[in-house]
Subunit: 270 residues, 2 copies
């Protein structure tokens, strides 16, 4: 099992790359090829759009890789997502694309294009408290589809997205078909008024209203609301589900933390 | 000329209300009726949804008011916008609805429903440096349609929105028809990566791609980007215009400040 790591959004820290390679060496069940593009820096991004797109398309087209693992989130994968899908090489199929957060722009478009996508921990997560467990969970899924890596309450076709990323891809060419899926959402570093606003936007979308259920992952590192918002994230999400006629499926074990689980998107290969 | 003030989003400060009434008294050319709902407080909002909706519908239905002036932005008008438009009373027509920022959710839906809407300063702006000039500019427009209040480069049908608000209303029932208009956008208190992400989302929207031109107001109180984003707001907006095939119409004299000008939305009454 050979796994390519590229960074379509922000820079992978060198110490994170080394720590993940140490875990891989100890496991001995896969080879991890970290593309040098991961360490490029151009303002906010891990290199200019052309470099990030070039590295991504290179590993997508390489039949020597069984999986592409997105190095980390941040922001920027939306800037190259449509171009990454142009003239899709045959070798891009039959690979698994793993990541979360900002990678959701790519994952939405890749899933729509018929590629095999899963939500799950990324290499940069190794620096979190308990991060080694997150890395091993991701590799357990990549290498042997270990079902203990999965979000424990998955029940039928499911997708997972960062709520803010999801809000920003609706109506674009990346928006996939949500019909009949359980939609898991989470967020990090937002004020509760922004969570409420994103839930308004997302649940008002005709495409989203076709989901089977909406499930709520963790809303972490909430920024202070002045004044206090007046309700919590569960009340917010339940209320918008009621208002939009979407069934609320309760909590989900995903989030921007080392407990974050794997959510494979619906696939023709399973 | 009788003008009603209601607060569909956040609380109007009492000192702001008093300062605006003092300006109105000195002018002597209009009567300002500040609805007591403006001073209610319920968590983030100027009272519960029902109270904000009730006050708004009350003044919409009252033929004794020539205009409805939104007290301030913040967040929350989206929560009552659709209900505000249900079974529209006849008296709601023939009034001007003035405001900006979060009021954009209402203004989008109201314009779509055929009501007369304009972007412009709000009562809470009186507390800004130079705020009295903003209040007088707004009232000059409300009372006598003084063209010196207008954004100076308006050229044909135009609309103005806060960029983040616009992003969050696309695809909802509030989204108006943008065909052929000059679209003016501005924002406040965002990181540049969020401006870039919102521009991606907005310019990828098929509805937005029907505008004649996009013009950029001020992007103020930009939050620090770590690392430095690598370009500025003009470069960001121009780039997304190029990528989406939307003509960039240069800068616009609107923003979250006391210089903010009036932008009347296209109307059958003009």
């Amino acid at each position: 099992m050979r796994i390519a790591v590229v960074a379509p959004s922000c820079v992978l820290k060198l110490e994170a790359a080394e720590a993940v390679q140490a875990i891989v060496a100890e496991r001995g069940d896969c080879e991890l090829v970290i593309h040098p593009q991961c360490f490029l820096s151009d303002g906010h991004f891990a290199g200019p759009d052309e470099a990030r797109l070039g590295a991504l398309r290179q590993v997508m087209a390489d039949p020597g890789f069984d999986a592409v693992w997105f190095a980390r989130g941040g922001y920027g994968s939306n800037r190259i997502a449509e171009a990454a899908l142009a003239d899709l090489p045959e070798a891009a199929r039959g690979k698994l694309y793993l990541g979360y957060s900002d990678a959701g722009f790519l994952q939405a478009g890749f899933h729509k294009a018929g590629l095999d996508v899963a939500w799950g921990p990324m290499p940069q997560d190794v620096v979190r408290a308990g991060g080694a467990a997150a890395i091993n969970r991701a590799i357990d899924w990549l290498v042997r589809r270990d079902r203990s890596a999965l979000e424990p309450a998955l029940d039928g076709p499911s997708m997972a997205f960062n709520l803010t990323v999801l809000s920003n891809l609706l109506g674009t060419s990346l928006e996939p078909d949500f019909t009949g899926v359980d939609l898991l959402v989470e967020d990090v570093g937002e004020h509760l008024y922004r969570i409420d606003r994103s839930m308004f936007h997302v649940t008002a979308s005709p495409g989203i209203q076709k989901v089977r259920r909406l499930r709520l992952g963790r809303i972490s590192d909430v920024l202070p609301n002045d004044p206090d918002f007046g309700s919590d994230e569960v009340a917010i999400v339940e209320q918008w589900c009621v208002r939009s006629g979407i069934a609320f499926g309760g909590r989900a074990d995903i989030g921007h933390d080392s407990q974050n689980r794997v959510v494979p998107f619906p696939s023709e290969n399973r």
